[in-house]
C-alpha cells in the first residue's frame, strides 16, 4: 500500500512531520537531514510511544529509547528492537511511500 505526500507538506531541513493514516493503521514520521528525506514508522517498537527527531537520532519519551536514523537500531538499550524504515520514491509533486 502506498501513500503520497506533497512537497509542500514535507519537513524543511532539520525538521520532522508526522502523518497518520488510520485506514491503513500506520503513522509515519518523515524527517529531512543533510538534504535527504527519511521515513519511519512513528511508533516506537518497544511499547508504541511516539518517535520524535532529537538531534541525530530518533527518541521516544515514554522510556527514553533512542534509535539510529540510518539503520533504526536501538542505541541506548540492550535490545535488538529496531524501528521500521520505509522505502519511498520521488514523484512529480511529492514523495510516494510504501507503508506495507
Amino acid at each position: 500500500m502506498q501513500v503520497e505526500i506533497k512537497f509542500l507538506d514535507l519537513p524543511v531541513e532539520g525538521g520532522s512531520v508526522t502523518f497518520d493514516f488510520p485506514d491503513l493503521k500506520q503513522e509515519i514520521l518523515i524527517i529531512k537531514k543533510g538534504g535527504r528525506f527519511m521515513v519511519y514508522s512513528s511508533f516506537c517498537p518497544h511499547f508504541g510511544g511516539p518517535l520524535e527527531l532529537k538531534g541525530d537520532r530518533l527518541h521516544c519519551y515514554f522510556h527514553d529509547y533512542e534509535f539510529s536514523l540510518t539503520d533504526g537500531k536501538c542505541l541506548n538499550r540492550d535490545t535488538s528492537v529496531k524501528c521500521s524504515l520505509f522505502n519511498f520514491s520521488i514523484i512529480e509533486d511529492g514523495i510516494c511511500v510504501d507503508i506495507t
Binding site: M1, F43, P45, H46
Partner: protein, 199 residues
C-alpha cells in the same frame, strides 16, 4: 491511630488492560514523571513488586526515600503500600470498564498517623489531590497512545506489522503482563538485593 482517606477519580478512553500496563510499567517512572527517581527493584514476581525510590513531595523541594510494595490483588484492584520516614500509606487503584470505550480509574489514598501527624492531614489532602492530578495528566498521553497503537495491531518489541492483513485491532485481546517486562540490564534492576521470581 488516625487515618486520612482521599478518593480521586478519573476517566480515560482506553481499556482496563492499557491502564494496568501504564500502572505496572516501571521504566516510565523516571522518563515521564518528574516526581520519581529511577526506582531500584528488590523483588519482582508475577503480580507483585517491591522497590525503593525517592519521591518528590508536591510543592516542596524535598524527596522522600520510600519502600514500596505493590500487588495486583485481583483483576480490578492494585494495592500499594508505601513506607516513608514520616508515614505509612496504602493506595488502592480500582480500574473498571464502564462502557465499551471508557475506563474509570479510582485511586483511594489512605495515610496512617498519630494525632500530631493528623494535624497535617488537611495539608496532606491538598497535596494528594495535586499529586494525583499531576501524575494523571503526565500518564494520560501514554494510555491514549498505547490504546491507539494496539488498535493499529501493534505488537510489543516489534511494532506495527508489515502486512496490512496482520494489522488487526488488538485492544480487545491485549492482556498486560504484570509487572511489565523490561529490556535487559536496565538500571532499575541493578540493586544487589534484587531477586526475580519470573522466568
Amino acid at each position: 491511630m488516625k487515618i486520612l482517606k482521599v478518593v480521586c477519580e478519573n476517566f480515560v478512553a482506553a481499556t482496563p488492560e492499557v491502564v494496568k500496563w501504564n500502572s505496572w510499567d516501571s521504566e516510565h517512572l523516571n522518563s515521564v514523571h518528574g516526581a520519581y527517581d529511577a526506582p531500584k527493584y528488590l523483588l519482582t514476581r508475577e503480580g507483585e513488586v517491591l522497590f525503593v525510590d525517592r519521591v518528590k513531595v508536591p510543592f516542596f523541594r524535598i524527596r522522600l526515600k520510600c519502600l514500596v510494595f505493590a500487588i495486583q490483588w485481583d483483576s480490578e484492584n492494585q494495592i500499594t503500600y508505601t513506607l516513608t520516614p514520616f508515614f505509612l500509606a496504602k493506595n488502592t487503584i480500582n480500574v473498571q470498564q464502564i462502557n465499551d470505550g471508557t475506563t474509570r480509574v479510582r485511586v483511594i489514598y489512605e495515610f496512617s498517623g498519630n494525632w500530631i501527624q493528623a494535624l497535617l492531614f488537611p495539608i496532606f489532602k491538598i497535596l494528594i489531590q495535586r499529586w494525583n492530578q499531576t501524575v494523571w495528566e503526565e500518564d494520560l498521553p501514554l494510555k491514549l497512545r498505547r490504546q491507539k497503537a494496539l488498535s493499529y495491531g501493534f505488537i510489543d518489541f516489534r511494532g506495527i506489522p508489515d502486512k496490512m492483513e496482520m494489522r488487526k485491532d488488538r485492544t480487545g485481546i491485549y492482556k498486560a503482563s504484570i509487572p511489565v517486562p523490561t529490556t535487559r540490564n536496565v538500571e532499575e534492576f541493578s540493586h544487589p538485593f534484587f531477586i526475580s521470581g519470573r522466568s
